[in-house]
């Protein structure tokens, strides 16, 4: 490179030096530790704050039935399968009765015999009553005859004794009759009990519902209380939601919710908080609540995961800040405010928070105070900063 013009040479040289030094100065000032920290700033202002609560849960049936025998036995037949819709009273399964029917028959025979015994005793009683009547008539006639001294006193006494004897025979037969009747009642009760027991071996649907599981097959032995069929009432499906304890403030029955099912994330469903369980989960530190659907969607499956958003309060206007501005330090919760263009830490008291990232400020800053939201790096009091519209990597 041959420079022919001295002026051109010095011009180019000056330019080069300027570019070099300028570039150097620029990069030193613009980047590295000497550069000011870039931050974005928001002003505290009244904003509509929708306090909402987010939790996840699973779809559960409010009422589900575990149907099984009350006594151990062998399963004879299962008449329904998973997914079947059943009506109240429908026979679902049967337990093998073993000798129950025979015992019932024998009891029936005993009952019939007892009935015959009652009839026989009744007939005896009638006979005795008739004898007593005749004895009474005889006794009265002899007494009259005795009073007129037609017969001897001994004959009168004899007739009187006959009457007493007949009366005793009547009493005895009546007692017999009562006993026979009681026997009949006992046998009847026995029979009923056995029938009931027999009936109990037939597992019936208590309500209209859907079979969710068939836990035993014919031939298998089940113990008392073991479920053979599980049934749910499809109308009673709701979502059991777990909320973080720390954020569950304001949760109440009747609050409107949006339920997003895992199977259909695009379409939130409307619902309401139906129940809040009085017991929290102390291990997971979660509050548990049930949220019912306003309208149960078709094809809902039990156990499906759902995301639930509860509106705990209606939108309220409050002094609010983005939560990215809030710092939790050992000194307490606070924000970095801009004072004379330098950051300064201000302790604040926070109220409600909304899911879209706003947080209510109860105390600590005033309206229109400038607060640092995003920053490139750690802030310290009095650090040099530069306010920019946005930092790198923001929304598309």
């Amino acid at each position: 490179m041959k420079i022919t013009q001295p002026s051109g040479s010095s011009l180019g040289l000056g330019l080069l030096a300027a570019v070099l030094l300028g570039g150097f100065g620029l990069v030193v000032a613009r980047s590295g530790p000497l550069a000011p920290t870039q931050v974005t700033v928001a002003h505290a202002e009244e904003r509509a704050l929708r306090a909402e609560l987010f939790g996840i849960g699973t779809v559960e049936a409010r009422r589900s039935y575990f149907i099984g025998p009350t006594a151990a036995g062998r399963l004879k037949a299962v008449h329904v399968d998973v997914g079947d819709r059943v009506k109240a009273g429908q026979l679902l399964a049967e337990i093998d009765p073993v000798d129950l029917d025979e015992r019932l028959r024998s009891l029936e025979a005993a009952y019939a015999r007892a009935q015959s015994a009652v009839s026989a005793t009744e007939a005896q009683r009638k006979d005795m009553l008739a004898r007593r009547e005749i004895a009474g008539l005889n006794a009265r006639r002899y007494r009259d005859l005795g009073d007129q001294h037609f017969v001897s006193a001994s004959a009168v006494e004899s007739r009187q004794q006959e009457l007493t004897s007949a009366q005793a025979a009547v009493d005895a037969t009546e007692a017999n009759l009562q006993s026979a009747r009681q026997e009949l009642t006992r046998l009847k009760a026995d029979q009923d009990a056995l029938r009931e027991q027999r009936q109990n071996l037939r597992l019936l649907a208590p309500r209209d519902g859907i079979v969710t599981s068939r836990d035993a097959e014919p031939g298998s032995t089940v113990i008392a209380g073991q479920a053979v069929i599980r049934l749910i009432e499809p109308d009673s499906l709701w979502v059991k939601v777990r909320f973080d304890q720390g954020r569950s403030r304001g949760l109440a029955v009747g609050q409107a919710t949006r339920i997003t099912l895992r199977s259909n994330p695009g379409q939130p469903l409307a619902g309401q908080v139906a129940r809040i369980e009085p017991l929290s989960d102390s291990v997971t530190e979660e509050r548990i609540a049930q949220v019912g659907f306003d309208q149960i969607p078709p094809g809902l499956s039990v156990g499906e995961m759902a995301e639930v958003t509860v509106e705990t309060t209606v939108a309220l206007a409050a002094l609010a800040l983005p939560n990215a501005a809030v710092k939790h330090t050992a000194r307490g919760t606070g924000v970095w405010t801009l004072q004379d263009g330098k950051p300064a830490f201000t302790v604040v008291r926070l109220g409600q928070a909304s899911l879209d990232g706003l947080v209510e400020v109860i105390d600590g800053i005033r309206r229109e105070d400038a607060v640092i939201v995003h920053s490139e790096r750690d802030l310290a009091p009095g650090k040099r900063i530069k306010v920019v519209e946005q930092l790198a990597g923001s929304l598309k």
Binding site: S9, A324, D378
Partner: protein, 397 residues
């Protein structure tokens, strides 16, 4: 007196500038190497700063959550909170895993933290902190994620709601922050096949699947999928509390290991990046030697090209000091040009490095002094050659 060196540089400025740029690129590489080391140290410090903790409580006899794996129960923090001097304590999990966005896989350190507690990212560059207790994430910009992206960690999709900067693990993987419960699940949650497998295995175990005990199998299987462990508890001390006292209390009574801030820094810097640091140190030495050699050769060649002029200068009475000064100034001028170019390019290309490169002004100053020293040493060869030039050679050929 005019500056001979300056005039010479101005005269053959193109040679100087191009040589300077070449040297500058080398110096830039050197400064960048130093920056890589500083960056690693700084990453470690930012990692510690960002956790907002004064004390790290981890499994006994382990080196904390970053250098070694550690597992403790997630209710430990409650008992720690009762210790005097502890202001706040929170569970945290760290796990390096693949995070998917669409078809693309990003290796990231997934941090599980509790919102508003130590472990939360201290500052964001965009978006907001987590507000939902599940399925939201704050990601480092180095992951390439943007606000609103849906990312998948194990079985669940997360929405990116905030972005951080400079949040990387000691290995340089960018961090993704998700709610603690999700992280606990993700850490231990297997894929569906594994879960089914495990269930079948449990069901096949006759002692766990007893016909006479209905519900036992279900209970066991439920307990198998739940995880109640975390990697560490981050403790913030109350103002005025001594870290050592609290740490010794934790060690003694809770049977856990506790590290203070300085111990943690020691672990990260001394243990994790020590080898890398030595590696870089070696590089720096080589680069310094190469730089010195280049400057020496260039100045020497340039001086040899001027032997005639130097002889004339000597003949007409220029002092050796003036000539040596000229060469020295030229070498230093080359160094200055090189340094400026080097510092500029290093600053320009530093952001494009996959790991953080921190160019400290102190390093730049030391680098400048080193460059000047190297140039001075390198010019001695040329100066010796110049001083040996016999002024008589100018006469009579």
């Amino acid at each position: 007196m005019i500056s001979l060196a300056g005039r010479d540089i101005l005269h053959s400025w193109s040679k100087f500038v191009f040589t300077g740029i070449g040297l500058g690129l080398l110096i830039g590489a050197t400064l960048t190497m130093a920056g890589v080391y500083r960056g690693m140290v700084d990453d470690a410090k930012v990692l510690l700063n960002n956790s907002g903790a004064d004390l790290w409580v981890v499994q006994q006899d382990t080196l904390g959550p970053y250098a070694e794996s550690s597992s403790i129960h997630d209710d430990v923090y409650r008992s720690l909170l009762t210790l005097p001097g502890v202001a706040r304590a929170a569970n945290v999990t760290y796990l390096t895993m693949q995070v998917r966005r669409g078809q693309q896989d990003v290796r990231a350190m997934v941090v599980g933290f509790e919102a508003g507690q130590p472990g939360e990212p201290e500052y964001l560059v965009a978006g907001r902190q987590l507000t939902r207790s599940h399925y939201e994430a704050v990601a480092d910009v180095k992951t390439g994620f943007r606000l609103g992206d849906r990312i998948r960690i194990r079985r669940h999709d997360y929405t990116v709601v905030g972005l951080t900067r400079r949040m990387v693990s000691s290995g340089g993987d960018p961090m993704v922050f998700i709610p603690l419960k999700d992280a606990q699940e993700a850490q231990f949650l297997k894929d569906n096949d594994a879960i089914l497998n495990e269930r079948a295995r449990t069901a096949a175990n006759p002692t766990l699947n007893r016909p006479g005990v209905p519900g036992l199998l279900d209970a066991i299987q439920a307990s198998q999928t739940a995880n109640r462990n975390v990697n560490a508890v981050l403790v913030q001390l109350a103002p005025g509390a001594a870290a050592e006292q609290v740490a010794s209390a934790v060690k003694r009574w809770k049977h856990l290991q506790a590290y203070s801030r300085s111990e943690m820094e020691e672990i990260l810097v001394a243990k994790l990046i020590a080898t890398s640091a030595r590696q870089i140190g070696m590089f720096l030495v080589i680069l310094a030697v190469v730089s010195a050699a280049i400057v020496a050769f260039i100045i020497y060649t340039m001086t040899l090209g001027k032997i005639r002029e130097i002889a004339v200068l000597k003949l007409i009475g220029t002092r050796n000091r003036t000539i040596a000064g000229m060469i020295l100034q030229q070498a230093m001028g080359l160094g200055v040009i090189g340094f400026i170019v080097g510092k500029t390019v290093a600053t320009l290309w530093a952001p494009y490095f996959p790991k953080y490169v921190l160019l400290e002004p102190g390093d730049a100053l030391r680098g400048f002094l080193a460059v000047m020293l190297i140039c001075t040493l390198a010019s001695t060869l040329a100066i010796r050659a110049a001083l040996r030039v016999d002024p008589a050679t100018a006469i009579g050929g």
